[in-house]
């Protein structure tokens, strides 16, 4: 048995109900009594033998037939030891309360609010337990529960809390949130001890630089931010709920729409999770092709980020220059999979089509000139006094805090923590090529900027090496139970047609089980947690999206800075609302 499991079991003989090590998938899980969660979590966090300092995710599952209906599932990561653990606790339906772990991991704040919002589980000791995605006065129930219909309850226009377009303004102004529920109001009554001079500024959801439909309410003292309250959910589509009604293959297109700037890496994260659940081995050429495409997508994502971050800070030209290069790569993607934005190229067990010599050639041409282009951006920014003044010492977060908040990707690496899933748990062809993980020092916006620019160089390096090493062979695994036959065969022979029909109508059935699989996407760690009940559809799918977790640290990082810095912080997270709100 794994040492960590042994330690936990020995430490809490009563609280720990069961421990399990999934040899094939490399997952560790611990089933505990709900009332002991804070104790166990504290031990896991503090004890040097376990040292689970990074909170990855909190999610929940609903088993209506069981006596203890809800299961709260925690994923922790130990950066010093480099392993993950899954802690599960069951709670009853009539008293869905569990202790909050926000006192141990600050990043648990938003994650617990999400569980409360979508599953209705109360967290005792949570400082601010409110709905996070759904409207605050939504009382139709909790959407992720199994008894909540997948098609929703009613239409948008029928809900009371939305103003009707044809009603006169006076008719609905009274129905607005009552005064005492105005969480966004600064205290203005004479009895209130609070200073009343703060101005509340509503930034978003319609604002030129909130990267989609993010809304932040800022409490301002002059131009200085004394409190920032992110209000999410304007792009909440319930992808997790939708996935419960779709077969594993049908979920794939929904993942493109998560982080619509980097659709390819989302696909990659999802197919990797399903492959881990089912246990498919992907052929070597496919692994290389996947790595190439993922890294090209990373370059595209970072180019997009660099352009918009510079535009937010006021440098206009960088935006057009990065989009010039992005265009070349999007053209390549178009040749590869036919789409430019909602790319869909990865398949469970491999990829959709092989790289053509033409694509390889144009990719090589691009890589030859790309370093010069990065140099051009550097000329505009890297030594620009104004750029330095706007990014240095802005939104500083220390390494410990960043880990405690569960930040990942360049946002975490900027604070000097060299956590990159591609190095820690190598997948694809990342362990076969040479590359480095750029790590910052000060944890400020400049360091994160530098890291992303450096990552573009490293990605170009990876792609270059992968292209050189690219082996011959099939691009899809040979596993008839899961992989549909080739399209050309389907139209020719009867057996393939039947095979195709079966796979696409029934779907494939992974074994009963659950697994968490993390992938390094340009924004950070995108994880998919899948629970399979042996059927063709996921019983529960949880998406651990980096943007959402990063927003949890927003208030902490924004306090004390000026309004101008708020847009810098949006940019430095590289936030995409499609992924944040899901």
């Amino acid at each position: 048995m794994h040492l960590v499991l042994e330690t936990v079991q020995r430490q809490f003989p009563e609280t720990v109900l069961a421990v399990a090590e999934d040899q094939a998938r490399g997952d560790l899980s611990v089933q505990i009594l709900a009332k002991g969660i804070r104790e166990v979590a504290r031990f896991l966090h503090d004890d040097p033998r376990t040292a689970f300092d990074h909170i990855t995710d909190i999610c929940s599952a609903d088993y209506p037939d069981d006596l203890e209906r809800f299961e709260v599932i925690y994923h922790f990561l130990s950066l010093p030891h480099g392993h993950r653990i899954r802690v599960k606790a069951r709670i009853m339906e009539d008293d869905p309360v569990i202790d909050s772990v926000t006192s141990i991991w600050k990043g648990a704040d938003f994650l617990e609010r999400e569980v409360y919002d979508l599953m209705g589980i109360q967290f005792e000791g949570h400082p601010d337990l409110r709905r996070i995605f759904m409207p605050e006065d939504y009382d139709e129930g909790y959407p992720l529960r199994k008894d909540f219909p997948a098609e929703g309850k009613g239409w948008r226009s029928q809900f009371d809390f939305f103003p009707k377009y044809d009603e006169p303004i006076d008719a609905w102004s009274e129905k607005e949130v009552p005064q005492d529920q105005h969480v966004f109001m600064a205290g203005d009554t004479p009895e209130s001890k609070k200073r009343t001079t703060e101005m509340l500024l509503n930034m978003g959801p319609q604002h030129p630089s909130t990267h989609g439909v993010l809304r932040v309410v800022l409490e301002l003292d002059g131009e200085r931010v004394s409190k920032a309250m992110p209000d999410l959910g304007y792009l909440h589509r319930g992808v997790e709920k939708l996935a419960e009604g779709l077969t594993y293959m049908q979920v794939l297109p929904h993942t493109d729409r998560l982080d619509y700037v980097c659709a390819m890496t989302n696909n990659y994260a999802y197919v990797r999770a399903v492959e881990k659940l089912v246990g498919v081995t992907v052929p070597e050429r496919a692994e290389y092709v996947r790595t190439i495409v993922a890294e090209v997508q990373r370059i595209v994502g970072h180019l997009f980020w660099l352009g918009t971050q510079a535009l937010d800070i006021g440098a206009m030209t960088v935006f057009f220059w990065t989009f010039r290069e992005r265009e070349v790569l999007l053209d390549l993607f178009e040749k590869l999979c036919g789409a430019r934005l909602t790319l869909n190229y990865y398949r469970i067990g491999g990829v959709d089509a092989d790289l053509t010599p033409e694509i390889i050639e144009s990719l090589k041409t691009f890589l030859d000139t790309f370093p010069e282009h990065i140099q051009e951006y550097d000329v505009l920014l890297q030594k620009n006094r104004i750029w330095l003044a706007r990014t240095k010492d802005v939104a500083v977060i220390s390494g410990e805090d960043a880990i405690n908040f569960g930040l990942t990707g360049p946002t975490l690496r900027g604070s000097g923590v060299a956590y990159d899933i591609r190095k820690l748990e190598p997948y694809g062809a990342y362990d076969k090529v040479e590359w480095e993980v750029p790590v910052g020092k000060n944890g400020d916006t400049y360091d994160r900027y530098w890291i992303r620019v450096e990552e573009m160089r490293q990605s170009a390096r990876i792609v270059q090496q992968c292209l050189e090493q690219l082996p011959e062979g099939p691009i899809v695994a040979d596993d008839p139970k899961i992989i549909p036959p080739q399209k050309t065969n389907v139209m020719r022979d009867m057996e393939s047609l039947i095979h195709h029909f079966i796979i696409f109508t029934h779907g494939f059935k992974p074994p009963k089980g659950e697994t968490y699989c993390a992938t390094e996407v340009p924004k950070g760690e995108l994880g998919f947690f899948l629970i399979s009940d042996g059927g063709p559809r996921p019983y529960r799918m949880k998406i651990r999206s980096p943007s959402f977790v990063h927003m949890g640290a927003f208030d902490y990082m924004a306090r004390g800075y000026l309004i101008s810095d708020i847009v810098t912080i949006f940019g430095t997270y590289d936030i995409v609302m499609g992924e944040c709100d899901r």
Partner: protein
């Protein structure tokens, strides 16, 4: 009586032609700015309206003219309507003292007048500074009266910014005033004629005003709310700053004012530091038997200089990110102000020694 009538008619004609040229230049600038930015950013700029997009300003103007005029609920209607006017008028009125060409006295129907300057008043520089300050009220009132927080923040920012940087503009000019011992724009230009080595920015003795010129240009960029000092209208932070709530013609007024201001400060920089209509080398000016065409070459050089400064404005916009509010203030008070003051001290000492 007839004299007065003719004088009035002549002055009105002058005003009309100057206004016409300025407004045409504004229209041209809107197109030029987009084109120049486009070329710097690897794109074409506007291409759809007219051949090569040259009719874009007309289309923009028509669009703004026919847009619905919205006054937000809770806005102070009088102030809200007044602000754009308060912003535009001072920007246009400043052109009255700019000499566009040689100082000629023409007699026409027994009335003497100067064809290339509307009014040669002996306090020209003060006049421009005074009206530039009034322009700030337009911005502040526009921000305040809109009843919008973004506008208010934009208005507040601009109040602080305009006051701080106006000071630097004023102090940067003092050196030139010391050297020319005059406040009249015409006299200042005439003191610089004879080639670029006599322009105040370069004239070696008593002291070249090049540093003052740099301070003046930086402060002017800040005063016209252009990148990198476009904080009052910072798009990514304050949506559109003080004119967030404006639409249609009122918006167009602010827009016109900004561009007219750009032209004005370019003209002032040309006159004060770069010899106005004077050619960089004497033989580049029509002279001798072609003396009667001197105005042609004079206006040509004036235009070239002004457009060079305007190009500089575009260039800055394409290159630099935006400063933050506190950095802007620090830069204005702790960097530009001491330099401008130092320049005054050195210039006066040198002027005393060499006079």
């Amino acid at each position: 009586m007839v004299d007065v009538g003719i004088k009035l008619a002549l002055t009105l004609t002058q005003i009309a032609s100057v206004m016409g040229i300025v407004l045409l230049t504004v229209a041209l600038l809107t197109l030029l700015e987009r084109k120049v930015l486009g070329w710097m950013q690897d794109r074409m700029g506007p291409m759809e309206v007219g051949p090569y997009g040259i009719l874009q300003p007309v289309a923009d103007g028509l669009k703004l003219f026919f847009k619905e005029d919205i006054i937000p609920a809770g806005a102070n209607r009088i102030m809200f309507s007044m602000a754009p006017v308060l912003s535009l008028v001072p920007a246009l009125i400043g052109f009255a003292v700019i000499p566009f060409g040689p100082t000629w006295n023409v007699e026409w129907f027994g009335v003497e007048f100067k064809p290339f300057v509307i009014s040669d008043i002996n306090i020209g520089v003060l006049y421009i500074l005074a009206f530039a300050s009034i322009g700030a009220y337009g911005v502040i009132l526009g921000g305040w009266s809109s009843n919008s927080k973004y506008s208010l923040l934009g208005g507040l920012r601009s109040a602080a910014q305009l006051i701080s940087y106006e000071l630097n503009v004023g102090l940067a000019i003092v050196g030139v005033l010391l050297l020319s011992s005059s406040l009249s724009m015409v006299t200042i230009t005439e003191a610089q004629t004879g080639g670029f080595w006599r322009w105040y920015a370069f004239a070696p003795l008593p002291f070249p005003q090049f540093i003052a010129f740099v301070v003046f240009i930086i402060a002017s960029v800040a005063e016209t709310n252009r990148t990198p000092f476009d904080l009052p209208e910072a798009e990514s932070e304050l949506v559109a700053g003080f004119f967030t709530e404006y639409s249609g013609m009122r918006f167009a007024f602010f827009f016109l004012a900004e561009y007219a201001n750009m032209i004005l400060v370019s003209c002032v920089a040309t006159v004060l530091f770069f010899g106005g209509w004077d050619a960089p080398l004497p033989f580049l000016q029509f002279h001798g038997s072609l003396e009667h065409l001197e105005w042609l070459s004079g206006m040509f050089w004036f235009t070239v200089k002004v457009y060079t400064f305007l190009f500089l404005f575009f260039w800055l916009r394409a290159t630099l990110p935006r400063l933050r509010y506190d950095q802007l203030m620090r830069f204005g008070w702790k960097v530009l102000l001491p330099i401008a003051l130092g320049n005054i001290v050195i210039t006066s000492i040198m002027a005393y020694i060499f006079s």
